[in-house]
């Protein structure tokens, strides 16, 4: 019993992580307080990092935790702490679009699940690759996709300039 469990530990952990990530995502829809939603999202991201680690793409797992949890979500948590919790938007969870949103959710999940379960069989059965290492990723990234890499730096610069412009526009209106 224990031996078979240990032999399939990878698969077992994958299922556990997938279940936990889904539970965190579902909690995000249900919870009321923005801080709790942020913590649910952080747990989902960490479990996704665990899944990436199990798949063998360790550098993606590291960057998932570093960039998403370490930068994006810390920023989000700071902003939540800045804002007023007596806001009526916090007390009432759902907007008027609850029913159309649920219908669209059901349709989308139906179509995607149908596609995953029926339209994919041949490709998924041939899976057997052991993933790839950092070396293949780095050479692919900086040989074939160097232009995209440079364009991201332009995008980040534009984002910084735009953030400063937005802040200054707001300050001028208030002052």
């Amino acid at each position: 019993m224990i031996d078979t469990l240990l032999a399939n530990l990878d698969t077992l952990l994958l299922y556990v992580f997938a279940l936990c990530a889904f539970a965190g995502a579902a909690l995000m829809i249900v919870l009321r307080q923005p801080m709790r939603v942020a913590l649910a999202l952080i747990s989902t991201m960490i479990f996704l990092g665990g899944i990436y680690g199990l798949l063998g793409v360790h550098f993606i797992a590291a960057f998932q935790v570093l960039i998403y949890v370490g930068a994006v979500m810390v920023f989000m948590v700071y902003v939540i702490m800045l804002l007023d919790v007596r806001d009526p938007a916090v007390r009432r969870r759902y907007s008027k679009l609850l029913l159309p949103g649920l219908v669209a959710f059901a349709l989308l999940i139906g179509v995607l699940a149908y596609a995953v379960w029926n339209a994919l069989p041949a490709a998924s059965r041939t899976a057997g690759s052991e993933g790839f290492g950092l070396q293949l990723f780095a050479t692919t990234f900086l040989n074939a996709y160097w232009l995209h890499f440079e364009l991201t730096s332009v995008l980040l610069l534009a984002a910084v300039v735009a953030a400063i412009a937005v802040i200054r526009a707001g300050a001028r209106r208030d002052g």
Partner: protein, 100 residues
């Protein structure tokens, strides 16, 4: 259940839940977080395909999505703060007087 199918189903579920959150929640910050959830679902699908094919192209795309997500948050949060300073609420329904 096949591993690839499990992960793709999870990716689809994460994306759909993110879309549901953006549609039904009544809080601008929670809507932003649900957008991040949808991006994470797309990332998981890309990593799964990259792992299945043994090629690094999917991981390159995931990297670019990381950068786009960081830039998106860096722009969106100041805009949300300015909106809150104007009307003292995070409810997107309060801003329906913005035409267009």
């Amino acid at each position: 259940m096949d591993k690839v199918q499990l992960l793709l189903t999870l990716a689809a579920a994460l994306f759909a839940l993110g879309l549901l959150g953006v549609t039904v929640r009544r809080n601008l910050l929670v809507m932003l977080m649900c957008m991040e959830l949808a991006l994470n679902g797309a990332n998981l699908a890309l990593v799964t395909f990259a792992h299945q094919m043994g090629e690094a192209v999917g991981a390159v795309l995931v990297f670019l999505i990381f950068v786009v997500a960081a830039a998106e948050i860096a722009i969106a949060i100041p805009i949300v703060l300015l909106l809150v300073r104007r009307k003292r609420t995070l409810d997107p329904g309060a801003y329906s007087d913005l035409r267009g």
